[in-house]
């Protein structure tokens, strides 16, 4: 029983990482109604920016904040320069562009920063704490806390602010949005900026665990997709819950199902995606499209 609970808690810690990337995915989906496959690589690139700043002597929090600002701005620029001209293109074309971005970011990161694994500091204390015989790594707890905080901020933003409302409206009905004066294009750009920012946070939370190298987000992105699919692409809360669930499922599967071990862990994530899409495509908490027949 103790092992079970410990594995659940560890799963929650890794799940926090998936949850934060899933949040960025859902963010873009909410703002633009398609999925950005380059999300992980952009997060990785942002983390390298933070690393470079610290390597040049900047303290952690300065690097953190500057990276967030650069990522936010970069996301907006990307949308305006690459995605905006494709406004009327079919969805598949835009998806291909994001796949292209994935490859570009990955290669450019490797080219500029090399493929040598680098370490990345954690802002949380390194000594674990022990409660009732269960061990908690502080970083893992920190990841969970930050993810939940981000979720709360996002929820408040979308639910209670006019700008958040305008972003939701712009995705759902661009024509009606224009007719109430919303600048739909800029709402999309803002969505990309915010998603980039979220991705940067996720990257900087992940790097201390998996070490910084250009391919660090590849596997995590798949888990994040599993999380977002499970929770529902239209539900930020669902994505976070999905992240925790995927983390726990993955860990428990690896511990208790003998042939899975560490090799097939990723397969678990893929099975989750397929299973959800077959049974309840909109996820646990996503709402299916409301359409009057």
């Amino acid at each position: 029983m103790d092992t079970f609970l410990q594995q659940v808690l560890t799963g929650l810690a890794t799940g926090g990482v998936y949850a934060s990337v899933a949040l960025a995915l859902v963010m873009i989906y909410q703002a633009t109604s398609f999925v950005n496959f380059a999300q992980g690589e952009m997060a990785m690139f942002s983390t390298y920016i933070a690393w470079s700043l610290m390597d040049a002597g900047a303290p952690y929090w300065v690097a953190f904040i500057v990276t967030l600002l650069v990522s936010f701005g970069g996301g907006i620029v990307l949308e305006r320069v690459l995605i905006r001209p494709m406004e009327d293109a079919p969805v598949l074309a835009v998806v291909i562009v994001t796949l292209g971005l994935l490859v570009i970011f990955n290669s450019v990161a490797g080219w500029i920063f090399s493929y040598v694994i680098k370490s990345f500091p954690s802002p949380f204390p390194s000594s674990p704490i022990e409660i009732e015989g269960f061990v908690f790594g502080m970083h893992g707890l920190g990841v969970v806390a930050v993810t939940l905080l981000l979720l709360a901020i996002l929820y408040a933003f979308f639910r209670f602010t006019t700008l958040g409302l305008a972003m939701r409206a712009a995705t759902q009905n661009p024509v009606s949005s224009r007719l109430v004066g919303i600048r739909v294009g800029w709402m999309r750009a803002l969505g990309w900026g915010l998603a980039s920012l979220l991705g940067a946070v996720a990257g900087m939370l992940v790097a201390p665990i998996v070490f910084l190298e250009p391919n660090m987000m590849g596997g995590i992105l798949i888990y994040a997709f599993a999380a977002a699919t499970l929770g529902g692409l239209t539900s930020p809360g669902g994505a976070v819950l999905g992240g925790f669930l995927v983390g726990v499922i993955e860990n428990l599967a690896a511990t208790y199902i003998p042939f899975i071990g560490t090799n097939l862990k990723l397969t678990v994530a893929l099975v989750v995606i397929i299973g959800v899409l077959l049974i309840k495509p909109s996820g646990l908490f996503g709402h299916p499209e409301v359409r009057r027949v």
């Binding site: 939701r168 409206a169 009905n173 224009r178 007719l179 600048r183 359409r291 009057r292």
Partner: protein
């Protein structure tokens, strides 16, 4: 004396197909004008041209300001509210959120609160359902919501595209009655596009008839109601 909304020689195309072949009409300040016509006559296209949703050529002036080539987001800020055909409701947002969006461009926040009450007094059913998701409302209620959202702008000109579509006659009467009230009390000019000629002619002060992209008749409603061919083709008796 130029009218409030003056349109001259309006040409519009969808791709290479010209659908408006140079039409003229106007709406007087505080007046109600209606454009009638069958399906495919180009009525909705006309409204879309006025609010900048499609490219067009010709002259469209609102109190002397030219609207041709202006983006919809700017035209809205000049006080033009467009209720599109099919309502254009934000179906996944609540009634209240839909109304809030109607006032998106306004800066006078204190007055917006008062406007909620005003709009609810016109449409009490919306007040009952204010926290409901808009997509769960009936067709008539969604139409009321669409008009109410337009009113939240405090528009000077209200464009209504086939508000009677798919609604029961009693509901249509109710909505048209409220439009008349709004026009009289708020002095909002209304441009009403309708296939339901009978109700539209009872509401409007000025009427136009379109057929395949051309204006074929214009004048006060009585002229239409007395014309034999119009009566047979569009009024059904």
């Amino acid at each position: 004396m130029a009218a409030f909304l003056e349109v001259r020689g309006l040409l519009a195309s969808y791709g290479r197909t010209e659908v408006l072949h140079g039409i003229d009409f106007h709406v007087n300040a505080g007046g109600i004008a209606t454009i009638l016509g069958a399906n495919g006559a180009g009525k909705s296209t006309t409204l879309r041209a006025v609010t900048g949703l499609i490219r067009c050529h010709g002259a469209i002036t609102l109190e002397g300001v030219s609207l041709v080539g202006m983006a919809p987001e700017r035209i809205v800020r000049l006080g033009v509210a467009h209720v599109v055909e099919g309502r254009g409701t934000f179906v996944n947002l609540t009634v209240e959120e839909n109304l809030r969006l109607g006032a998106y461009t306004r800066k006078d926040h204190a007055a917006i609160g008062a406007d909620f009450e005003r709009v609810f007094s016109y449409f009490p059913r919306l007040k009952e359902r204010r926290r409901q998701t808009a997509g769960t409302l009936s067709g008539g209620e969604q139409q009321m919501l669409a008009v109410a959202r337009g009113l939240m702008l405090r528009p000077r000109l209200l464009l209504l595209d086939e508000p009677s579509f798919g609604l029961a006659p009693l509901v249509v009467d109710e909505i048209f009655h409220i439009v008349r009230q709004v026009n009289e009390q708020e002095k909002v000019a209304v441009l009403l596009v309708e296939q339901n000629a009978r109700s539209a002619l009872e509401l409007a002060g000025e009427a136009y008839l379109m057929e395949t992209g051309r204006m074929v008749m214009s004048g006060p409603p009585s002229v239409f109601q007395q014309d034999d061919s119009v009566r047979r083709s569009y009024l059904g008796y």
